[in-house]
C-alpha cells in the first residue's frame, strides 16, 4: 500500500513537472495578439472603450487608447515600434504627472516615466494584426479623404508655428518644440492619413477631454498640415 502511494506521488509529481515544463517551453510567439494585449497591455491601454469621460480619467491614463487603433496607426509602424519602442510624448501620456518645478520653468521628471516594453518580431506582428481589427469610431473616418500633396518645410513650419501656434505643445524635430503633446515629426509614419485629417479637425470627437483644442484648424488647412507631417517624416534628424 505504502509502495503504491509512493509510486502515485512520484508519478503525480513527474506529470506536474512535465506539464509545467511544457507550459514554460511554449514559445511566447504562440500567444495570439489578443492574448498578449489582454495580458501585457491592458494595464496601461484601454482596449475596449469608451474614451475617458472625465478629467480625472484623462489624468490617470498611462498610454494611448487602443480601441480604435485600427483606424489610427499604420500597421508597419506598429510592428517596428513595438520591437524598439521610443517615447513619442516627451512628458508622458498626461504631462501633469511627469513634471516638477525647475529653476527657470517646469521640467520633466524622468524618474516618473516608465519605458515601454519591447516584444519580439513575431509578437509585434501578432499584436499589430489584432490592433488593426480594433475599428471603433469608424464613422469619424472618411476613407480616402487625404490626397497626397506637397508643402515646403518652411511654409509648413510657418503654418504650424506662427499661424496656429501648434509648436507650443509639439516638437517638429528632436529637441525643438513643446513637450506636452506627441512629437509630430514622426506623425506621418505612425498614423494613417485619414485619421490625421479627422483628428486635427476635431480631437474632441476621438478623445472628449483631451488637452488639445478642438475646431481650431481650418478645414482648408487640414491637408496642408498633413503634407507638412509627411515632409517632416522624410527628414533625417539622426
Amino acid at each position: 500500500m505504502l509502495l503504491m502511494n509512493i509510486i502515485r506521488l512520484i508519478t503525480g509529481l513527474t506529470a506536474g513537472y512535465l506539464a509545467t515544463a511544457l507550459l514554460l517551453s511554449v514559445p511566447a510567439s504562440a500567444d495570439s495578439g489578443l492574448d498578449i494585449l489582454e495580458k501585457k497591455c491592458s494595464g496601461c491601454h484601454n482596449l475596449t472603450g469608451p474614451s475617458p469621460q472625465t478629467l480625472e480619467e484623462v489624468q490617470q491614463r498611462k498610454g494611448p487608447d487602443l480601441f480604435y487603433a485600427g483606424n489610427k496607426y499604420r500597421k508597419e509602424w506598429l510592428e517596428e515600434w513595438l520591437q524598439e519602442p521610443e517615447r513619442i510624448r516627451p512628458a508622458g501620456m498626461y504631462y501633469g504627472k511627469h513634471i516638477k518645478a525647475g529653476d527657470e520653468q517646469d521640467v520633466i521628471d524622468p524618474s516618473t516615466l516608465e519605458a515601454h516594453m519591447a516584444v519580439s518580431e513575431e509578437q509585434a506582428e501578432a499584436i499589430a494584426g489584432t490592433l488593426m481589427t480594433y475599428k471603433a469610431k469608424s464613422d469619424l473616418i472618411s476613407a480616402g479623404e487625404y490626397q497626397p500633396g506637397h508643402i515646403s518645410l518652411s511654409m509648413g513650419e510657418l503654418m504650424f508655428d506662427k499661424f496656429r501656434g501648434c509648436l507650443a505643445c509639439h516638437q517638429i524635430e528632436p529637441g525643438y518644440g513643446g513637450l506636452s503633446g506627441p512629437e509630430v515629426y514622426t506623425a506621418a509614419k505612425r498614423l494613417q492619413d485619414d485619421y490625421l485629417m479627422s483628428y486635427m479637425r476635431n480631437p474632441k470627437a476621438w478623445d472628449p477631454k483631451v488637452f488639445m483644442p478642438s475646431g481650431y484648424i481650418r478645414e482648408k488647412d487640414l491637408a496642408k498640415f498633413a503634407h507638412y507631417f509627411h515632409a517632416l517624416s522624410e527628414e533625417d534628424f539622426e
Partner: protein, 125 residues
C-alpha cells in the same frame, strides 16, 4: 420634516455646494481644468513657466502677476480663453478653447484666475 427644517437643510446643502465648488457650477472643476489644459504652458504654479515654454517666441502670461492681471477685465479673460490670444490682440500661441470647454467652465476658469492673481480688474491687492 417640517418645511422650515427642510428649507434650512436645503440652504445648508446649497451653501456647502458653493463652498466646495467655488469656481465652477457646471461641468468639471476649474482647478482640474486648469491642471489639465493650462499647466502645460502657464505652469503648475500658474506663473507662466510651463514645461512647454522653452522654444516659444512669446512667453505665456504669469497668472500670479496681480499688477498685470488686474489690467484685464473678466470679459477679456473669458474671450482670450474661449477665442484664443489673437482675439484680444495677444499671441497665437494661446489657442481658443471654446471648442473644448463650455461657457460655464470658462467662467469658472476666469474666477480661478482671480484666485491665482489675488486680484480683480482695476484692483490688485
Amino acid at each position: 420634516m417640517s418645511s422650515h427644517l427642510y428649507n434650512t437643510a436645503a440652504f445648508a446643502a446649497m451653501m456647502l455646494g458653493l463652498i466646495t465648488t467655488p469656481a465652477s457650477h457646471a461641468g468639471e472643476q476649474a482647478k482640474d481644468i486648469y491642471q489639465t489644459y493650462c499647466w502645460q504652458c502657464h505652469g503648475m504654479n500658474g506663473d507662466g513657466k510651463g514645461v512647454n515654454i522653452r522654444d516659444m517666441s512669446v512667453q505665456p502670461r504669469d497668472h500670479t502677476d496681480a499688477a498685470e492681471m488686474s489690467t484685464r477685465t473678466d470679459d477679456d479673460l473669458f474671450k482670450a480663453i474661449k477665442e484664443g490670444g489673437q482675439s484680444v490682440n495677444k499671441s497665437v500661441l494661446m489657442p481658443p478653447w471654446g471648442g473644448s470647454l463650455s461657457d460655464e467652465e470658462i467662467t469658472g476658469l476666469v474666477k480661478y484666475l482671480r484666485v491665482l492673481c489675488q486680484c480683480r480688474y482695476g484692483e490688485s491687492q
